[in-house]
């Protein structure tokens, strides 16, 4: 592979990438991130490949990452010269021949695209890519454009700018969209101090949870004593329901690498580590490939861009401990020790990995860096909210219509994410709350829907930004059960080093189990609150320090549900099995017998065409009867 040493080399590589992105003729891309593969993108890709071969078509078939809209995957894009890019959602292998037919015919009669892209931002290059020359064919005019789709309308893609567009295994496509331009600029025209200044100006705060200003961290690490310094990327994303970093690592690994090289230059580091959890095999594979490619092009290794600056990156795979997302535990794990945190009274920017100055940022933070350097800190600081600049990637999951990955400007009202981007709650149910920040975060009730989504506002509301998981809950979610779920997760993930976290969280868990089982006692809520305070104050690391948040926030906003469980022995949401009863409304029951057939414990009896009855002694409260009843005759209380 030809080394890239100069701006001219970079431009040449970019030109090649452009040809690969837009080869002329027909190009078909399939979203093959984990989200795509899980919904069957692999079979779609195979079917496309076979069909193209069978018909001997000159089409180019390529893989790409995730565009974020997971609810419509597998997603197939068709790129044709001078035509809008067309996105086909929920593709199946069976639909492939029809799709090929309509590409040949030039219509959209059989399968409608979900949206079309007339132009898209190439944010790192400050340009737009125009697919059409202002001319949209008549038959496509009824298809909404990318920017008209509610899911995308309010999004600004910086960290995920290339996901779903480029082939993550092709460095030239990354370069074609402005990749490594920021690195070239930094190494050849900016001093390390100037790079740090730019990052400080941008206001970029760490996207891993703490929200510490990245530039300030870099500066502390730069001024720390020591010749050998490290930069580290935290890719140990472990929150249930969160996959922001996975998507970036899978869909655009080079942005993480470029960000790290720029950071290393600014800090004065010679070596970098990416710590990825082993449960992300595709992220590991794509990062490995990207590092090899960057190295073969001279973008990693000695004398990058012909300068004195040398730097390389190694990947380290995590063995599956949530706590290793904590900086000191991560570093212990990198050193080959058990992943346990240590007290951080002496900061890791001074004494980190192998006791040397180390700068740790998470995947999303690094992914923002190339664009900040390319476009300027001032440009970035004007996006988002005053003290929370830029965008934030969230994984929107749970009881929401548009499940997927979204990148929105900071400061966006919560309701915009839930109802506009997310498309509201399925089944006409009511929105109840959203859990942000994963198990370390808290829930925000529907009454606070106008809340600005930024670091400080979330913190004040008793939750946190965390790494960006957003779990949406509807009226059928029991908040006590939710708190129990998160606490149970943390019990199994506590490393066991310090007393409050190891012993305290499991005692909270015991009490929450009791409450859900109808064995809660008067005074339990007060005891939970006092324990929570002690655990927050007394724990060694942030895992324990934030572990009680789900309990505290649910008590704060849904105290009545705790009281209902403890005092009335009722679960208002109809979730906690020990506290609910399924009943058949004799007036509504038609005696069709479907519920009786489906009941796994055979506890529903009745004559045909006459109201049925549930034997409460035998009922296991699985709820299958209620789901199967077409006449709404079964109620839970």
């Amino acid at each position: 592979m030809k080394k890239i040493n100069t701006l001219d080399d970079l431009k040449k590589a970019g030109d090649k990438g452009l040809k690969s992105l837009f080869p002329g003729g027909v190009k078909i891309t399939v979203g093959m991130a984990t989200s795509g593969i899980a919904s069957g993108a692999g079979e779609v890709y195979e079917a496309l490949s076979a069909e193209i071969k069978k018909r001997k078509l000159p089409y180019i078939l390529a893989k790409t990452g995730s565009m974020g809209m997971d609810c419509i995957e597998p997603l197939v894009d068709i790129i044709e010269k001078d035509k809008p890019r067309l996105a086909y959602g929920k593709m199946t292998a069976a639909k492939v021949p029809q799709l090929i037919d309509q590409i040949i015919k030039g219509d959209i009669d059989a399968i409608k695209p979900v949206y079309r892209v007339d132009e898209e931002d190439v944010i790192a290059k400050r340009e737009k890519k125009h697919y059409t020359k202002g001319m949209v064919p008549e038959y496509l005019k009824g298809i909404p454009t990318f920017n008209e789709v509610p899911f995308y309308k309010k999004q600004i893609k910086i960290a995920t700018r290339n996901c779903g567009i480029i082939d993550p295994e092709n460095i030239e496509e990354y370069i074609a969209r402005g990749g490594y331009l920021a690195l070239q600029k930094a190494l050849t025209s900016l001093s390390p101090e100037a790079v740090i200044e730019e990052v400080i100006k941008s206001g970029l705060r760490g996207r891993g949870g703490g929200g510490f200003p990245a530039g300030i961290k870099w500066q502390s690490c730069r001024s720390a004593h020591g010749d050998i310094k490290y930069v580290i990327c935290n890719g140990d994303e472990g929150d249930p329901g969160a996959y922001m970093d996975r998507s970036v690592m899978e869909g655009d690994p080079h942005t993480v690498i470029e960000g790290m090289i720029i950071g290393a230059y600014a800090i004065g580091a010679q070596e970098g580590f990416i710590y990825v959890r082993n449960e992300y095999p595709l992220a590991v594979a794509n990062l490995t490939k990207a590092i090899e490619e960057a190295r073969s092009r001279g973008l990693l290794g000695k004398n990058i861009f012909g300068t004195n600056f040398s730097f390389d990156i190694k990947i380290s795979k995590g063995a599956g401990a949530f706590v290793c997302g904590e900086s000191t535990a991560l570093m212990a794990s990198l050193e080959g020790k058990a992943g346990e945190p240590r007290a951080k009274y002496i900061h890791t920017v001074e004494h980190g990995l192998w006791d040397r100055p180390s700068n740790l940022n998470n995947v999303e933070t690094w992914a923002n860096v190339p664009v900040i350097i390319a476009r300027s800190g001032k440009w970035f600081s004007e996006i988002g909210a005053p003290h929370s600049t830029g965008t934030k990637v969230f994984s929107l999951v749970g009881k929401i219509n548009n499940i997927g990955l979204v990148e929105v400007p900071m400061g966006i009202p919560l309701k915009d994410i839930i109802f506009d981007v997310g498309g509201g709650i399925p089944g006409g149910r009511k929105f109840k709350a959203v859990q942000t920040g994963g198990p370390s975060g808290g829930c925000i009730p529907a009454s606070m829907m106008d809340l600005s989504v930024d670091f400080d506002a979330l913190w004040e509301a008793g939750s946190m930004m965390g790494s960006g998981g957003m779990i949406v809950m509807d009226e059928k979610t029991c908040m006590v059960d939710l708190a129990r779920y998160f606490i149970e997760f943390l019990v199994s993930e506590s490393c066991g080093k310090c007393t409050p976290c190891r012993e305290g969280i499991r005692r909270m868990n015991d009490m929450l189990h009791d409450i859900c089982a109808g064995k809660g006692r008067e005074g339990d809520v007060e005891l939970l609150e006092s324990m929570a305070k002690g655990i927050v104050d007394g724990s060694l690391c942030a895992l324990g320090g934030s572990a009680p948040n789900p309990v505290l926030s649910t008590i704060k906003y849904f105290r009545d549900e705790y009281d209902a469980h403890i005092k009335q022995k009722k679960c208002p949401a109809g979730v906690c099995r020990a506290l609910i009863r399924y009943e058949i409304d004799a007036k509504k029951c038609t005696g069709c017998g479907v519920c009786a057939k489906k009941c796994p414990s055979a506890c529903i009896t009745g004559e045909k065409k006459k109201a049925h009855k549930i034997n409460q002694k035998k009922c296991i409260k699985c709820g299958i009867c209620m789901e199967s009843c077409k006449f709404d005759a079964i109620t839970v209380a």
């Binding site: 066991g496 310090c498 005692r507």
Partner: protein, 237 residues
Amino acid sequence: MVNFIIDGKKISAEKGTMVLEAARANGIDIPSLCAHEAVSRSGACRLCVVEAKKGKRSKIVTSCLYPVEEGIIIETKNERVLNVRRLVIQLLLARCPESEVIRDLAKELGIEPEPRFVPDKDKGKCILCRSCVRVCEEIVGVSAIGFSGRGANKVVGTPFQENSAVCIGCGACAFVCPTGHIQMTTTEDTRKIWDRTFKMKKCDVCGRYFAPEDQLQYISKKTGVPLKELAVCTDCR
């Protein structure tokens, strides 16, 4: 010298001194369980917490690991601190109901067991303070014991809970254990610890059994002192 305040008292100490030492040197008592003078500190038990105030900011820190700072105000017995300490003691009482050390400490601090916590039956007296593991690694240098499992299932033991080939039977772990969890039984000519029985060596001079043979061999190998010279007990040397 660094000047600061603990519980309203003006104190100065050398840079690098931990708050725990500075307090104790000035007659201010802070309870602790895992800070043993023989080993490095882990901050695991969280009993020695204090509140550190710096300007407008204040946080709970472990005094055993927190170095003194100019102008810092430390409070060792305010409500916030006592809440953590009470919780830690109650949690340890529930974990190790048989530990006299914990029970005595609770009594001394005026802390009653929390009736809502069901006492454990399977944890013995181990509070996972780490002193044993650290002494074995840092002082003895054999790392015969370590941790396995995580969370409340974490246990101290030899690898795979099998007989350790590297244990020298020195008993340093049992010596530093604050609660007496680690069982070591020594009869006339044998010592039993971590499920292994060690042969004891007789002093060449007085004839008293004084140390495991494995330990003497290990010391000889590590220091280069001939085994013969180590065959005399410390009293007769």
